[in-house]
Amino acid sequence: MEAVKQTTEFTPEMLAEVDRIIKLFPEGKQKSALLRVLHIAQAHYGWLDVPVMDYIARLLHIQPIEVYEVATFYSMYDTVPVGKVKLEVCRTGPCAIEGAEKIISYIENKLGIKDGETTADGIFTLKSVECLGACGYAPMLQCGEKYHEHLTEEKVDALIEAYRKNPKANYMGM
């Protein structure tokens, strides 16, 4: 899919939030804010490209490589483009025995993509992920900040319908 990004700058609200987060740590320890700042960038831009990571390095007065190495270590960060709506389905043991695999195949068939792929219209990405701490409410998926639990095929249908209409509905944050 096309990787369009007009700007790497943060909005004034985002910068204020970065400033607040940096102040949670002692003087000189602003690097501790990095993981949270990357989340802010990703929620806004959808994914993390090199210019945005370089911008974050400048914001935090660290080297670009320090940002890249963190962004590539943690599984929540996307350093390649993804769809507007990321469906992250838990595939780990407790969810697996409650039918996670069937849910994953169902979504694959419905959207015509495989695990890890993005639909041609750029709306949906499907990603199987490891335990999200909702094992008692399996099978489940996370979309943005929301947990969707006790999934059934009907629930998945409704979810996909709702997100198709309003892809940004999943972000409660910035």
Binding site: I21, L24, F25, P26, K29, K31, S32, A33, L34, L35, R36, L38, H39, L60, I62, E66, E69, V70, F73, Y74, S75, M76, Y77, R91, T92, G93, P94, A96, I97, E98, E101, V129, E130, C131, L132, G133, A134, C135, G136, Y137, A138, Q142, E145, K146, Y147, M172, G173
Partner: protein, 450 residues
């Protein structure tokens, strides 16, 4: 239901807000500790309580606190481990979402005992909405004078903030958590030095689980001796259990640790029995890292005694016939579940989550995943079972952090107790797949790409 010390107020409307929490007696432990007790007295109460760490290892909390180094003029830190990524575990999320102020209160009281003036809650990145709940609770606590400078006029200062990870199980390991909090990759550190001496930014640091810190509140309110009366033996107090799998009532339960496993699984107060009238096949009582127990060792020990939901009883028999309470992630498997598949699934998890620093863990988890994949998908050989045994034995004890052991133990236990099922997979793989999953036969010979 037994005594509830953490979740007793969970159903009170508005308990997630400051006003209701306070009206229901919240922050009394801070008042008591800061106004009437010295930090040493708070530590003594925690020691008397017998509280053991709820993060998985069960190390006595009072003892851990007493190890913290106190060099003059060097700041100390209390970190709350809210990374909660052990498969099967979801109790911390429940507690933080429902009663966020209980954790904030516990952080203040615990930090006072340690002489720490700054604390951080490190929460997994996927729990972002819970992070926002905690930040709101912290803001309310600041507004009402429970955080900040000179709390209750006691002269004690304490600041608290939340920060987060971004999808990495390894960041639950305490030194990886510290690295991550410093804005680094989550690579565990070689110990010693231990965090109690050199932790966050090389300062003395204590890392405790969410539930451990929350438990300090009732301990200070009612006294350590009262807390120690609950439970059995060295398993004092209450424990949150996350129950999942093929049961009628999955969810989070606060139990007294003297109840039997049988009661926990079958009583309507707890799991409500096995779903769909099926039979119990196996149980992982403490999160994916602990040994799986076959049905005949779940409710009884090898000696034929009732097994209890306690640290000691679940470990009775060692790894030969016992398991561990671990993080309290209690996963129940019915007769239709395939042990080989579950072991493969868990091993894939550990391979995915290995930080990659040590070769036995990095390579060994991937190798085990491959072997288990071929056993599960019908092209394994008999020798593969011994190969797996050999690999897991060579990982265990040979790595920087315990993730290596956590990956090895489930494989060892599955082979120890279910060897016949592994053999059956070599001889009759198609039948297992059809029976367990209704997967189409062509999937059986899917090429191994792991």
């Amino acid at each position: 239901m037994g005594r509830q010390l953490l979740l007793d107020k969970v159903n009170v409307a508005g308990i997630n807000t400051y006003d209701v929490y306070r009206k229901e007696g919240g922050y009394r432990s801070v008042e008591k500790a800061l106004k009437k007790m010295t930090p040493e007295e708070v530590l003594e109460e925690v020691k008397t309580s017998g509280l053991r760490g709820r993060g998985g290892a069960g190390f006595p909390t009072g003892m851990k606190w007493s190890f913290i180094a106190k060099p003059e003029g060097v700041p100390r830190f209390l970190l709350c481990n809210a990374d909660e990524s052990e498969p099967g575990t979801f109790k911390d999320r429940y507690l933080m979402e429902k009663i966020p102020h209980l954790l904030v209160e516990g952080m203040v009281t615990s930090s006072y005992a340690l002489g720490a003036n700054q604390g951080y809650i490190y929460i997994r990145g996927e729990y972002m909405y819970v992070l926002r709940i905690l930040e709101k609770a912290i803001a309310e606590a600041y507004q009402n004078g429970w955080l900040g400078k000179n709390i209750l006029g006691s002269g004690y200062d304490f600041d608290l903030a939340v920060t987060c990870g971004a999808g990495a199980y390894i960041c639950g390991e305490e030194t990886a958590l510290i690295e991550s909090l410093e804005g680094e990759r989550g690579n565990p550190r070689i110990k010693p030095p231990f965090p109690a001496v050199k932790g966050l930014w090389q300062n003395p640091t204590v890392v405790n689980n969410v539930e451990t810190i929350a438990a300090v509140v009732p301990i200070i309110n009612d006294g350590g001796a009262e807390y120690a009366k609950i439970g059995i033996g060295r398993s004092t107090g209450t424990k949150l259990i996350s129950a999942s799998g093929n049961i009628n009532k999955p969810g989070v339960f606060e139990i007294e640790m003297n109840i039997t496993v049988e009661e926990f699984i079958y009583s309507d107060q707890y799991c409500g029995g096995i779903k769909n009238g099926k039979k119990l096949k196996a149980c992982v009582p403490g999160g994916s890292s602990v040994p799986i127990l076959p049905h005949y060792l779940v409710c009884k020990t090898a000696a034929g005694q009732d097994r209890l939901m306690s640290y000691e009883s679940l470990a009775d028999g060692g790894f030969a016939t016992g398991s561990m309470l671990g993080s309290g992630g209690f996963v129940v498997y019915d007769e239709d579940q395939c042990i080989v598949r579950n072991t493969w699934n868990f091993t894939r998890f550990y391979h995915h989550e290995s930080c990659g620093q040590c070769s036995p863990c990095r390579e060994g988890t991937g190798w085990m995943e491959k072997v288990l994949h071929r056993l599960e998908y019908g092209h394994g050989k008999m020798e593969d079972i011994d190969l797996l045994w050999d690999i897991q034995r060579k990982i265990e004890g040979n790595t920087i952090c315990p993730l290596g052991d956590a990956a090895a133990w489930p494989v060892a236990a599955a082979i120890r107790h279910f060897r016949e099922e592994f053999e059956w997979h070599v001889n009759e793989p198609v039948r297992c797949l059809e029976k367990n999953y209704g997967l189409v036969a062509e999937k059986v010979f899917e090429p191994v790409t792991a």
